[in-house]
Amino acid sequence: MNTKLLSLNEATRTVNSGSNKVTLLDKINLQVNEGEFISLMGPSGSGKSTLLNCIGMLDEFTGGGYTFLGEPVHSMKEKNRSKLYKEYIGFVFQAYHLIDELNVWENIETPLLYKNIKSSERKALVADMLDRFNIVGKKDLFPQQLSGGQQQLVGIARALIGKPKLILADEPTGNLNSTQSTEIMELFSQLNKEGVTIIQATHSEQNAVYGSRIINLLDGKIVEE
């Protein structure tokens, strides 16, 4: 259980806002092992989302080193990086971000399309996932026809379909009521037990405790573990 999944070494992210250089992440050092469930906490603007996006390779660190599964992400070409995250990382968003024009089945199927998986295999995988999440009956519905909790369920199913090693969840329950929140967190907990590494950003103490490790961020720095 102690295989190293990723490590950040003095990872920094700055942006230019007008003539000012703003540091969003300041020399972050972090090691994540496979099977961990990390909760990132901190007030708005502390850099939680930025850290998640950078780890998820949707965004880039502007300084320091980032190693994912032993590979140096910071010196990697865009193409390889995209290959890497397509293979190993799944995203769950606060606003679910399902594609409105696609129904449940198709939304879950989408990542598989980008992995060039054969149609028959895709069918089997999606069917399994629907089954596992108990949403078989909803497979033909469109996002607008679902409740928030159901939409987030589909969002998680979509994140999981590619069998990622790491799930990055940015405020996954931010738009949900407390019952729905608990359900989703229970699900994460369950997934974690099955071996999926999870990093979530959250405001809620209640949700944070589901994690095996809590990291507090303030002004782009890790202040407490």
Partner: protein, 784 residues
């Protein structure tokens, strides 16, 4: 993957019905319009292609020098064809030919048909296909005639044998049908219904065997090995070698150029209909461009809606190229739907279009080339229109769009504005061009013609008619419906016979002046309304007045200070005394100055009768009175006539076509542009709904907000006006250069076009602006 794209494309189309409608409708109008033009172009370029040996068939025009200027005529000296054939190597076949209209009669059936007198080689040069009889022997009998199948059927009846039967021509000559040929297709420069041996026409006339006068058409076919340059070079020297006095020369004009490149200036081809073919092809692409611009504008305008999807897909592992593929497939799907819609439009509109262009175009969906062209247009539109939105949309960064950050639309905004300016510039150019073409046509139509074309009938007559004319004229006037009647050797609106080599007192180089001849009766001037401004008219008895002539004003001017009355015009041994001067009249090219005219009192050469009906007499009564008189005195001929003002209007066919088409294109360009503007205004209003809400809460008036929203668009239209004015000016200026008699471009036209564009744009935009302005601000503010 593709199925996924198609699925999402259709769902997104259905979800955004208004947007889809604007896009598909706009694009289908564009495709319809371009398809109509391409069908027309296809027909234009197909002219004469039904004849084989395209590389070897030539017309032989001559260049003649008058007053220092080379002018091109299709008439050649009679012996040219035969001499070329015998003396210029490489010429395989050659024929004289003359296009004539004749009355044919079989039993009680009589019809007038246009055809050609020609030598036997004519049949080979044009590879006429014989259904009955054969090409080799058709002209061995000097009394032969070859009819097209249609003519044969009309004369002898369907299914009846024509071969070997007699046709009576002009009520006196018997012709023996020695062949029936397939009808010529519609798209030939020289349609014909019959061919008969040339000797029957020349009838041993001596002048037809000399180099002195040009009267016959000459067609040749080169041998396959012959080199065009060599033959043409020899031909250009040929006429001078034959006739020292002759400074004109003949040359070869390829069958491939007859239809599209037959306008000569200074003895060289300077274009012709090809100008319009090119112009309209460009217009087709411009209209497509406008339609594609709509698509781009609307797609990028609603990019915020798509931004989220782009972010999600990228987060799910989609590469940029996959997104580009997705967006282009979407625009392709849209383009194909538009193409299907436009096929329906085409089916509905083609008959109307045919009426305007006076053609018989068909959709021809069974024709693989048509399908291929339609598919190509569609694909090009789809890809072209989708390209920019695809690159633009796929460039969004997932981090930004998923966070809900506003996508910076700066670059897209600039491009969008540029595209709107482009659309409106094109539309305004069309508007201006349309107005000016219309003005130019009206200008020429309202031109002082020198005669009165109203209530004037024209009828073709044969020689046999002429001795009866005096009686018929008296009878016609006696009916009370007819003011007067006259005879003339040519139509009023067209050129007719002409010649040079005249001498008179006063002026210089008189022999160089090309003069048209009109052989008329004494009643000519009264009937046509031409005005004698000096001297007298003709004597009723042409025999005692045969050396008197009237001349046109322009000819009188060439005599300088010399008094024209009493001046003697000489040519060879002829001496003609000028007894009167007639105000110039316009014939031939309605947009230029006509050559000087010499009127002679010599009805025996007449080919046409003109009848002027009395004012106030209903035309149908006049016509029936005329018919009665003619049926009594000239029973053998059918009562066939044309109105001179119709013939006159037909002279403007080309310009009328350009005018009408450019009007259609102007309307379509405006319509498509407005569809785009409408959509764009809707999105702008939507984007700014929060701003509008805040402003209203702060006390802004509805009119203030409408102004705010419309202002930006009007600015764009303003820029379009500024750009379009020089373009339109240049375009119309160049077009007008083709016409000697033309309008001055009036700056008011630009003002009117500008105002029109502003009004149309304002009407389009204000609908959305008003809608946004009267919306309740609570709704727009709550949603944030």
């Amino acid at each position: 993957m593709i199925i996924n794209y198609i699925k999402i494309a259709f769902r997104s189309l259905l979800k955004n019905k208004g947007y889809s409608f604007l896009n598909i409708f706009g694009l289908s109008i564009g495709i319809t319009c371009a398809s109509l033009i391409f069908l027309w172009v296809e027909d234009e370029v197909s002219f004469n292609t039904s004849f084989p040996n395209q590389d070897q068939v030539y017309y032989v025009p001559t260049n003649q020098n008058y007053e220092g200027e080379w002018r091109t005529f299709y008439s050649t000296p009679g012996p040219l064809a035969k001499d070329m054939l015998n003396e210029i190597p490489g010429i395989e076949k050659a024929t004289r030919s003359s296009s004539e209209e004749r009355l044919f009669k079989v039993g009680d059936n009589s019809i007038t048909k246009r055809g050609r007198y020609a030598d036997a080689d004519f049949l080979d040069i044009f590879s006429l296909k014989f259904i009955e009889g054969n090409r080799e022997t058709a002209f061995t009998n000097p009394e032969a005639i070859v009819l097209t199948q249609e003519t044969a059927e009309q004369l002898f009846g369907k299914g009846e044998k024509a071969l070997g039967n007699i046709v009576v021509v002009s009520n006196k000559d018997n012709y023996l049908v020695t062949g029936v040929i397939e009808n010529l297709p519609k798209n030939v420069t020289f349609p014909l219904d019959w061919v008969a041996p040339f000797e029957r026409y020349s009838d041993g006339a001596e002048w037809m065997t000399e180099y002195g006068s040009n009267f016959s058409d000459t067609f040749v076919r080169l041998s396959p090995e012959a080199n065009f340059e060599t033959v043409d070079g020899k031909l250009r020297q040929f006429m001078q070698q034959k006739d020292d006095d002759n400074d004109s020369y003949a040359f070869l004009h390829s069958i491939k150029d007859w239809h599209l490149r037959s306008k000569f200036e200074g003895g060289e081809i300077v274009g012709g209909r090809i100008t319009y073919v090119r112009l309209f092809t460009i217009i087709a692409f411009i209209i497509l461009l406008i339609a594609c611009i709509n698509f781009m504008n609307l797609s990028t305008a609603r990019s915020e809606k798509r931004a989220n999807e782009v972010g999600v897909r990228k987060a799910m592992g989609s590469s940029r190229s996959r997104l580009i593929t997705q967006f282009i497939s979407e625009s392709l799907i849209l383009a194909f739907i538009a193409a299907l819609v436009s096929v329906v439009f085409l089916a509905v509109l083609l008959p109307q279009f045919n009426l305007i262009i006076e053609k018989d175009l068909t959709l021809g969906l069974g024709n693989p080339i048509h399908i291929l062209v339609l598919l190509s247009i569609t694909t090009i539109c789809g890809v072209f229109a989708g390209l920019y939105p695809a690159f633009y949309l796929s460039s969004f960064k997932p981090v930004e769009v998923l966070k809900g950050l506003k996508v910076s639309q700066k670059s897209a905004n600039v491009i969008r504005k540029g595209l709107v300016v482009g659309q409106f510039t094109i539309s305004i150019v069309f508007i201006i061009f349309t107005i000016l073409v219309y003005q130019q046509i009206q200008h020429a139509k309202n031109r002082e013609l020198g005669y009165d074309k109203e209530q004037l009938l024209s009828m073709r007559i044969d020689r046999e008619f002429i001795p009866k004319f005096d009686v018929i004229q008296k009878e016609l006037i006696r009916t009370g419906s007819v003011k007067n009647a006259t005879l003339c050797n040519s139509e009023l609106t067209s050129g007719g016979n002409n010649g040079s080599g005249f001498t008179w007192k006063g002026g210089t180089d008189t022999e160089d002046v090309l003069i048209s001849f009109r052989n008329v009766t004494e009643s000519f001037f009264e009937t046509t309304g031409m005005v004698i401004i000096e001297g007298r008219g003709f004597n009723k008895n042409h025999e005692i007045d045969s050396t008197s002539v009237l001349i046109s004003e322009s000819l009188a001017k060439l005599m300088g200070d010399e008094n024209p009355i009493g001046n003697i015009i000489g040519r060879g041994d002829d001496r003609l005394e000028i007894v009167g001067v007639v105000k110039d009249y316009i014939y031939g090219d309605m947009f230029s100055t006509s050559d000087p005219v010499l009127f002679m009192n010599y009805p025996p050469y007449a080919r046409y009768m003109f009848i002027k009906t009395k004012d106030g007499v209903p035309m149908d009564r006049a016509l029936s009175d005329i018919e009665t008189v003619l049926k009594t005195h000239n029973p053998a001929y059918p009562f066939e006539y044309t109105f001179v003002d119709d013939t006159f209007n037909a002279k403007f066919k080309n310009e009328q076509l350009v005018g009408e088409l450019s009007q259609i294109f102007a309307i379509l360009a405006i319509l498509i542009s407005c569809l785009g503007l409408f959509g764009l205004a809707a999105y702008t209003a939507e984007q700014r709904s929060k701003e509008i809400g805040v402003r209203k809460v702060l006390g802004a008036s509805i009119s203030g907000i409408v102004k705010l929203l419309s202002k930006d668009f009007l600015k764009l239209v303003g820029i379009s006006i500024i750009i379009s004015v020089p373009i339109a000016w240049y375009a119309t200026y160049s077009w007008l250069q083709d016409y000697a008699y033309r309008i001055e471009i009036n700056w008011l036209v630009f003002v009117i076009a500008g105002i029109l564009a502003v009004v149309i744009a304002l009407a389009t935009v204000s609908f959305q602006a008003v809608k946004a302005a009267i919306a309740n601000p609570v709704n727009s503010l709550k949603t944030e």
